[in-house]
């Protein structure tokens, strides 16, 4: 039946979230979209690996521990560089979590090993709800950082510094930052996803591999890094 669908219909079908199943509670029905299911799969994998890699930490690290140490050290260094020596520890886990999650969320379409129709791994970040939620969480972390490290008064004072005329812009800042975070991520992933879907439709599955490396892998990892990096910059800015 899919053969009869036009290209645009297939594209829209790929772009739209599907309700995989519905949780029925007394009174309300909660639809669970495929983006959430994919997210759960990624979460399960991440949690499994983080437990698997850090079992039996030894002073002389084995292979598994080396991998875990490299990942954690890299994220710690990024946090240290952006936020500074004193406060990075509080934010490295959050930055690392969104970074690792976004890496897999953005590039999950390369794990579509089963050909044909049926359930497909499609990046959850092609849905604006996901990116908006993440951006709002990031800005919440930024506000938390400001209140925690500058106290409520110091954080509120930062709105009228260096001159009180800055107040509207500073307030606007807290809306623009998450908006730009959410839309940048959403737009990039959606664009890459659409391009890849079109290529898959137009060409046999072997040829797009090279393009997939750019659009799925490189763009996905780059956007994950950008999202984390901007979040760390915002945190650093508010702590300063």
């Amino acid at each position: 039946m899919h053969e009869e669908m036009s290209m645009s219909e297939r594209l829209i079908e790929a772009l739209n979230p599907h309700t995989v199943f519905t949780i029925k509670l007394p009174g309300i029905k909660i639809p669970v979209a495929d983006v959430i299911v994919v997210m759960w799969v990624i979460m399960a994998m991440l949690i499994f690996f983080s437990i698997f890699l850090t079992r039996k930490l030894a002073a002389v690290p084995g292979k598994k521990q080396n991998i875990a140490e490299i990942i954690v050290e890299m994220i710690n260094n990024i946090a240290k560089d952006a936020i500074g020596e004193h406060h990075w520890k509080a934010f490295a886990p959050y930055l690392g979590t969104i970074f690792l999650f976004l890496i897999f969320a953005n590039t999950v379409s390369i794990f579509n090993v089963i050909p044909g129709e049926g359930f497909k791994f499609r990046p959850p970040t092609r849905n604006i709800n996901v990116t908006a939620c993440m951006a709002i969480m990031s800005i919440c972390v930024v506000i938390y950082a400001g209140i925690r490290y500058k106290k409520m008064s110091g954080w509120l004072k930062s709105f009228v510094e260096p001159i009180p005329m800055m107040l509207p812009f500073k307030v606007l800042d807290y809306g623009i930052k998450p908006l730009s975070l959410a839309l940048r991520l959403f737009g990039n992933i959606l664009g890459a996803f659409i391009v890849m879907e079109l290529i898959y439709m137009a060409m046999p599955p072997v040829i797009p591999a090279a393009l997939s490396i750019y659009f799925d892998l490189f763009d996905g990892i780059l956007q994950a890094y950008v999202f984390m990096f901007l979040t760390s910059l915002y945190i650093a800015e508010v702590i300063e």
């Binding site: 772009l15 739209n16 979230p17 909660i30 639809p31 669970v32 979209a33 983006v35 959430i36 997210m39 759960w40 979460m43 991440l46 949690i47 983080s50 437990i51 890699l53 850090t54 930490l57 002073a59 875990a68 140490e69 990942i71 954690v72 050290e73 994220i75 710690n76 520890k89 490295a92 886990p93 959050y94 690392g96 979590t97 969104i98 690792l100 999650f101 959850p124 092609r126 849905n127 604006i128 709800n129 996901v130 908006a132 939620c133 993440m134 969480m137 959606l190």
Partner: protein, 161 residues
């Protein structure tokens, strides 16, 4: 994709909280703490090694100082002993010289005394001889006063010679 959906939003927020919690608990916290602990222990070990090296150097310095002191002490004792020995040697030699000189002097005095004695005896004998000779002469032709004075003069001259 663009439609706002409150359930998706809520699920994502919930998922992120759960993921954050697990990642922090199982990956970031233990690994970061572990790496820091290891770094600290390595730092500590290096510091200990430095400390030990320092201590070794110090004790070595002490030993060397002690050895130097001992060597100085032994040198001093040796020099003292040597000085003492040489002093005693000099003393003995000086005594010996003095004794020898005394013996030689005594010998010379003895010789002098004997010589004087001998001279005296010789003079007496010469006088006696001269007297005998004079007696003989007198017996022959001389019993005048002038002859007697000539004999005395002769004796005197012989005694002075």
């Amino acid at each position: 994709m663009l439609m706002p959906e409150k359930y998706t939003f809520i699920f994502v927020a919930l998922n992120l909280f759960i993921l954050y919690f697990f990642m922090r608990k199982f990956l970031f916290k233990p690994v970061t703490e572990f790496m820091e602990k290891r770094r600290n222990s390595i730092d500590q070990a290096l510091k200990d090694a430095d400390q030990a090296k320092l201590e070794v150097a110090e004790s070595r310095k002490n030993y060397e100082e002690q050895i130097k002191k001992i060597r100085e002490e032994s040198d001093r004792l040796m020099n003292e002993a040597r000085a003492k020995a040489s002093r005693e040697y000099d003393e003995i030699i000086a005594n010996a010289k003095k004794d020898a000189l005394a013996i030689v002097e005594k010998g010379r005095q003895d010789v002098e005394r004997e010589r004087t004695e001998m001279l005296r005896q010789v003079r007496q004998q010469i006088a006696a001889l001269a007297l005998t000779a004079a007696t003989k002469v007198v017996q022959a032709n001389m019993d005048t006063e002038s002859n007697k004075s000539i004999v005395d003069k002769f004796i005197d001259e012989a005694g002075a010679a």
